[in-house]
Amino acid sequence: MEKLIHLTLRVWRQSGPDRPGRFHDYQSGPVATSLSLLELLDLVNERLTLNGEEPIAFDHDCREGTCGACGAMVDGLAHGPKAETTLCQLHLRDLADGGLVVIEPFRAWAFPLIKDLVVDRSALDRIMAAGGYVSVDTGGAPEANVIPIPQPDADQALAAASCIGCGACVASCPHASAMLFVGGKVSQLACLPQGQPERARRVLAMVAAADREGFGACGNHRECEAACPKRLSLRHLARMNREYLSAR
């Protein structure tokens, strides 16, 4: 039958960007290990609500690891201790019974805190706006099979494109670098014929945008790859570096 455990959640509470923040402890009481950590936060929030207290604010939406909305540091690790897992996919069975679970927001200069665990990741959209696309207007596209694309190139492009924009790479990087995120998009389009005409412009513009937004430079710590829930390979980052050097 259902296994029950007990956890102490130590959660960062901060009512607004300019307000002081601090940790607050919450006892889970006996809870089923089949719950996800976010479902436990839902439960804690319902209890807080009924006590007339402010629930813990956190971003989330799909609850199945695809939208990239969720994210927090759990025991110091972006999205928690389980590999290739978003925060919403982290379950209580992945945590130790009786333990303390420390939950903090993603911290990076380019991700200003909004409230509790919610941060502003719109900088990632602005990097994408600088060049994360092929400039093609609707209407003029040629027949889809006109350009065959070797299967390995297509597979590479897809692997690079699987980024969900969660920001865990940034949060886990000592320099708060967004280069794995940028590398995914640059690498995807560099692998494909459709990406060629804007290849040089794209990488320069996206890297410049990341600098402008205050993300750090890559220091080769490789934390990003380990934290990435989609396991984006550092190969993509390396390809982006090559693209950048040859574009300059």
Partner: protein
């Protein structure tokens, strides 16, 4: 009953209607487009593709969404694929066949001309998405791969491994962001539309609440486009994202937009079952698993042995037994219904609401490696979510609410009965009738956004002229006041139940009385319960905090308030439709061998409901459905 507005169809044979429409419609000059502001609500496939394309055409566009980034709209979660009539497989596919399958799949409750156009546009979508650099899965030779999906007899589904929705959305999101650089398009994320402003039967703009500051603001525009997705979260637990809501549609309905076929909500058979009251999501397991998985329950109620200990002769493979021709591959509605019936008879696993989906025989016959090659990512997902390995123990599944075929009524231009209000994607009712085929929602969202609206909006604006009313007009002020008053009311109740709790109660009640199987008695019971639940909500709700910063409980409360009203319309629509149709079985309408009976004599129409005021019964408009290229037949899978 009042008369139906014309659906706006040019008089031409079905295959020529769209071309005729484009050839004969007035155009809006590029200079005039630059003077028109279009408000697009929603950034899923439908909204982002529409917004990007309209900005490319030179309109000024404002785009609104709930999430912090447009890329997070729930389109991102679609795994299976997108249909197109390319016939790359040389297996007899064509525009006509895609049209025919979609109309038939919808059980003859969709408008023929819209569906035909959808099939015609399907190929251009793939062309455009490939040009955007979307990394579709390819064959060894480098050409695009296709698979058969959802029981289709042809292979017409394009896909990117298990991430089709995500990749298509990143394409339209990129196109959207590209337009922000040109300054014609502005993004308003973390913003919720809470009212539609209508003056003299023409839409003038919207009232929104900024979710971080709580600020309620007005935006005027020459047209409003709703692409706010589906409302399956009416049932509380569903395969949809947590933010899924009916609010935008409901507020538009209350301002006069008609709601069509609200009771048509698809229930997907293979989802993770609910465990306990705290579960937040019924994750969809792709139905491709039914190609190799066998669905079964123990023959004896109360057989609590573990699955591997239950011998073959004590297992009931009920789909195979009842539908030998199709077996486990019966359509979604048939599978969902049968699974529910087994569980209602107490035959579910451990007496509960779940059945087995078992790969054991397939693994024995084909080897684990072959099975993993086909379904590896799904098996991993299942294990990640449940902690169980499907290679050792069968998966447990149960049906869940998944997709709303119903939505706001639209004409051939995708305009609602209100001038200037366009509705796209899952939010409209138009193409899927009473049931949607797999891989056709992505196709519809992108057809609506990339190709249809950009060709129907200009003709509308050319005729309607600019909107002379700006956001300082009294009508905006009074709407803002109403929105603020409702928010204040929600915050002041200070009762003892959370919105989440009341939402669960609503969802369970609707699931029981207005789910897969419906009956006169059950629907009437729901109608009796709904007003009491609404009273409980408005009398005993607890929303903490204030309205002037991020308050997620307040957001949810507003959405649940609308679900509570919408639920009543859904039940009323279900009650009035005394036929079994598409994904729903009506107890009173069965054939001799207990299968669903559709009743074309009485119900071959679209039911479009009109709001008549608080506490008043809604008005019903019937759009008759005529079929010229297909002949409605009874579906049979026996």
């Amino acid at each position: 009953m009042t008369t139906m507005p014309n659906a706006g169809l040019p008089n031409a044979p079905l295959p020529e209607i769209w071309a005729r429409f484009q050839e004969t419609s007035p155009l809006l000059s590029p200079a005039n487009r630059a003077k028109r502001t279009i408000l697009v609500v929603g950034t899923g496939l439908a909204g982002s593709s529409a917004a990007a394309t309209l900005a490319e055409q030179g309109y000024r566009v404002k785009v609104f969404c709930l999430q912090d980034s447009p890329r997070r709209a729930h389109s991102v979660a679609a795994q299976g694929g997108i249909n197109a009539a390319k016939n790359y497989k040389n297996d007899g596919d064509s525009v006509f066949r895609l049209f025919h399958d979609t109309i038939k799949g919808g059980d003859f409750r969709a408008r023929e001309a819209n569906v035909y156009r959808l099939a015609q546009l399907s190929n251009a979508i793939i062309d455009h998405c490939v040009a955007q650099g979307i990394p579709f899965t390819r064959e060894y030779g480098g050409y695009l791969a296709n698979r058969s999906f959802g029981g289709a007899q042809v292979s017409r589904t394009f896909y990117t491994k298990g991430q089709t929705g995500q990749q298509l959305l990143l394409g339209s999101y990129g196109a959207l962001l590209r337009q922000t650089a040109g300054g014609r398009l502005s993004l308003h994320p973390r913003t919720e539309m809470l009212d539609l402003v209508v003056v003299d039967n023409r839409v003038r703009g919207i009232v929104v609440r900024h979710l971080l500051s709580g600020q309620v603001e007005a935006h005027a525009g020459d047209a409003v486009v709703l692409a706010t997705g589906g409302y399956a979260n009416l049932y509380c637990l569903s395969t949809n994202a947590r933010s899924g809501n009916v609010t935008a549609l409901w507020r538009a309905y209350r301002r006069g937009a008609w709601f069509a076929n609200p009771c048509f909500v698809q229930i997907h058979p293979t989802c993770l079952p609910a465990q306990g009251s705290q579960q937040s999501k019924l994750t969809l397991m792709s139905e491709s698993l039914r190609n190799d998985g066998r669905v079964w329950v123990p023959k004896a109620a109360g057989d609590r042995r573990r699955a591997p200990d239950i011998p073959e002769d004590a297992r009931d493979y009920f789909l195979e037994a009842r539908y030998p021709a199709f077996g486990n591959l019966v359509p979604r509605d048939v599978a969902s219904r049968q699974i529910k019936e087994q569980c209602d008879l107490g035959l579910g696993i451990d007496g509960g609401r779940t059945v087995y989906l078992d790969l054991e025989d397939a693994i024995r016959a084909q080897g684990l490696t072959a099975i993993r090659r086909k379904y590896g990512n799904l098996l991993d997902m299942y294990q990640r979510l449940t902690g169980d390995d499907p290679a050792n123990e069968p998966m447990r599944i149960y049906p869940a609410a998944h997709y709303s075929m119903g939505g706001l009524w639209v004409d051939y231009s995708l305009m609602s009965n209100l001038s200037g209000l366009f509705v796209l994607g899952e939010a409209n009712f138009s193409d899927h009738g009473a049931n949607r085929l797999g891989a056709s929602a992505l196709m519809q969202g992108l057809a609506d956004g990339y190709f249809i609206l950009p060709n129907t909006l200009g003709p509308y604006l050319a005729q309607a002229g600019p909107n002379p009313i700006d956001a300082r007009h009294d009508s905006f002020r009074s709407s803002q006041e109403e929105v603020n008053a409702q928010l204040g009311r929600l915050l002041r109740i200070r009762g003892s139940r959370t919105a989440a709790d009341l939402h669960r109660e609503l969802g369970l009640m609707l699931w029981d009385h207005c789910g897969i199987v419906r009956s006169e008695a059950g629907l009437r019971a729901a109608l009796a319960k709904l007003p009491r639940l609404r009273e409980e909500f408005w009398g005993n709700l607890m929303v903490p905090g204030v309205g002037v910063d991020l308050n997620q409980a307040l957001e949810l409360a507003g959405r649940v308030a609308d679900f509570l009203e919408c639920g009543e319309l859904v039940v009323q629509d279900a009650l009035h439709r005394r036929e079994s149709c598409g994904c729903h079985l009506r107890e009173e309408s069965r054939t001799e061998d207990h299968e669903p009976r559709r009743r074309d004599e009485g119900y071959a129409y679209v039911a479009a409901w009109e709001y008549r005021g608080q506490g008043q019964a809604p008005g019903l408009h019937r759009e008759p459905l005529a079929f010229t290229l297909v002949t409605p037949g009874q579906r049979s899978y026996r």
